[in-house]
Symmetry: C2
Subunit: 352 residues, 2 copies
């Protein structure tokens, strides 16, 4: 910058102004400065600027410890995608916070390494905000927004879908189709989505006067498990059941897809013998055999809204964003769901 100033015959402060506040400098000198900058290949140093102004345009994304691409399928990746795009459109950059797995006990890497260069944070899914002293993200005034998971109780603005309500509606629909017994493929025990979705199932049963035991529960181990694997295991469990529920409900699509595939391979007819409901709305569900009915997680909308919420938080002038924004899930009704089969004893005749 000093070189530019020298070449243009001005002071560094004028260069600074010419670049940042084009209005506050003479047009002729501005052009001279720009030419000099061009000639020298000058690129402003963001680190210095950040230090000086005490802020930056970098937002930190904190990801769940489970990977981006498994677990809840591509959900995290899709959200990340729109978060990054929205921030980028507003001149911000996204920093992926390292998972502090390696030196977990010692110091919280994301906390320390990026302090002072991060302007705000977005917690995606079950991401954990590193704890820490009063100047940690949580305590020290770093604006934080949560997406996918509701943390409004902790005072963190959250952008979520109402999984519980969505699941409730879908199960009521199954009940309307005559289903009275359910097989629930649980997600990881203790996880937010598992709680919400199984809660929605329970709600629907209660609302219909069905007992809790109308739903056989499977899986839900505490350790992380691959979704497809869970689905296969669940299928084996369902096949081994003496009295098989007529509807299977998976906490997430990966499990539903693997379940569907496995039970059909063993001779079960879907939806003839068994209806299958997934959750998340991954695109590939439309190409399953039969196509999978599922509840779409509005990932793009969630990501965009979360980014906008954080931006509003950063903008002192803007009104405070709501503590909780709820976006609707969307039922994608496909062929994996149908009316419950007639009970065997009563089954009269098959079509010829």
């Amino acid at each position: 910058m000093r070189d530019v100033a020298r070449l243009a015959g001005v002071a560094t402060s004028t260069v600074s102004r010419a670049l940042a506040q084009p209005g506050r400098v003479n047009e002729a000198t501005r052009r001279r400065i720009l030419a000099a900058a061009e000639q020298l290949g000058y690129v402003p140093n963001a680190a210095a600027r950040n230090l000086r102004v005490g802020t930056s345009n970098i937002i930190m994304a904190v990801l769940p410890e489970t990977t981006i691409t498994y677990g809840t399928s591509q959900i995290v990746a899709e959200v990340l995608q729109t978060v990054a795009a929205t921030l980028s459109d507003n001149g911000f950059n996204l920093l992926i916070a390292g998972r502090s797995r390696s030196r977990a006990g010692e110091q919280h890497i994301p906390d320390l390494a990026v302090s002072g260069i991060v302007r705000g944070a977005i917690l995606i899914g079950s991401a954990e905000l590193p704890p820490g002293g009063r100047r940690s993200p949580a305590g020290g005034g770093l604006p934080v927004v949560s997406v996918l998971e509701d943390r409004s109780a902790a005072g963190i603005p959250s952008v979520i879908a109402d999984d519980r309500r969505a699941m409730r509606g879908a199960v009521l629909r199954l009940i309307g189709l005559g289903h009275r017994s359910f097989f629930y493929i649980a997600g990881p025990a203790g996880s937010y989505h598992e709680a919400e979705r199984s809660g929605g199932l329970a709600d629907a049963l209660a609302a219909s006067g069905l007992p809790e035991r109308a739903a056989v529960r499977h899986g839900g181990s505490h350790t992380f498990q691959d979704g497809f694997e869970s689905g296969v295991e669940a299928a084996r469990a369902w096949l081994a059941l003496e009295s098989r529920p007529t509807a299977a409900i998976a906490c997430w699509d990966d499990a539903a897809i693997a379940f569907l595939s496995t039970v059909r391979q063993q001779g079960a007819a879907v939806p003839g013998d068994l209806s299958v409901l997934g959750f998340d709305g991954v695109p590939v569900g439309a190409f399953c055999e039969p196509p999978l009915t599922t509840l779409r997680q509005p990932t793009a909308e969630l990501g965009a809204k979360a980014a906008e919420t954080l931006l509003a938080l950063l903008d002192g002038g803007a009104p405070a964003p709501p503590l909780r924004t709820t976006l609707p899930n969307q039922l994608l009704p496909r062929a994996s769901i149908a009316a419950a089969p007639k009970r065997r004893g009563r089954r009269t005749s098959r079509p010829p």
Copy 2:
């Protein structure tokens, strides 16, 4: 930091040393300093440190303009995943470079906004390195590594899979199974992977003495297209063909899956009438009907290796990394491929 120094009764430089080089300071004072830091909730300012030492621990990932989650499926997401993990394990953070779509003409946002705070860059897939003057990433000595796409010709160390060779091998296998006519579902025209993979197909035909026209080519528009959609369209095209090739080869799994699903829905038997080969190895392929044979892209290995390569580049002491690292694709042989059906005229009898 000054506050900490004051509270501990030392100079700021001692605080700095106590935190950065624990060995070079008296144990007692070090403990006093740590206590003071703890009490004050002190968090070092990375921006200031970066400015002072003239470097940082932030690596920039440049993503392709097409999204993270479509196009080549989750490939980009999976690579990003391991890149982030590997860097994190080595104390680095990952900055997602914004796509300079909005102000494309004007100035290259990723170039300018993060200058001085980025230590190196990883180009993922078809990502474009922003052009620019001599101090731009390309010209100005910013260490760069490419992954998924070979840029070694431009002097950029690249970590890739040998798609061409893998495709060649798989097609030779199909030829060995008696297939003599192929239906190729092309990826986006002009894309690196499309060129490599269709090249592999051509290689195999040539090696077997088959004419180029043994492969009917479909799709490959210049505009970006959703993989599933391409697959559906390709299926319609195949179904409309008078003389249908006995093997379909898709440039990527999304298309293969949608193709498979659509032709079966229209009554074609896979692999009875038609064998289907995908590319990428997405996990869901194992649960297709029938399970999809595909060539796995070693995403995790690629990501890790790319990160390591960049790290080696940053480490002055380390030997220069190879300009090109090639990792093997893996054939995942599944039920979507079988021997070519006998020609209709000759078909003698069906099993009862």
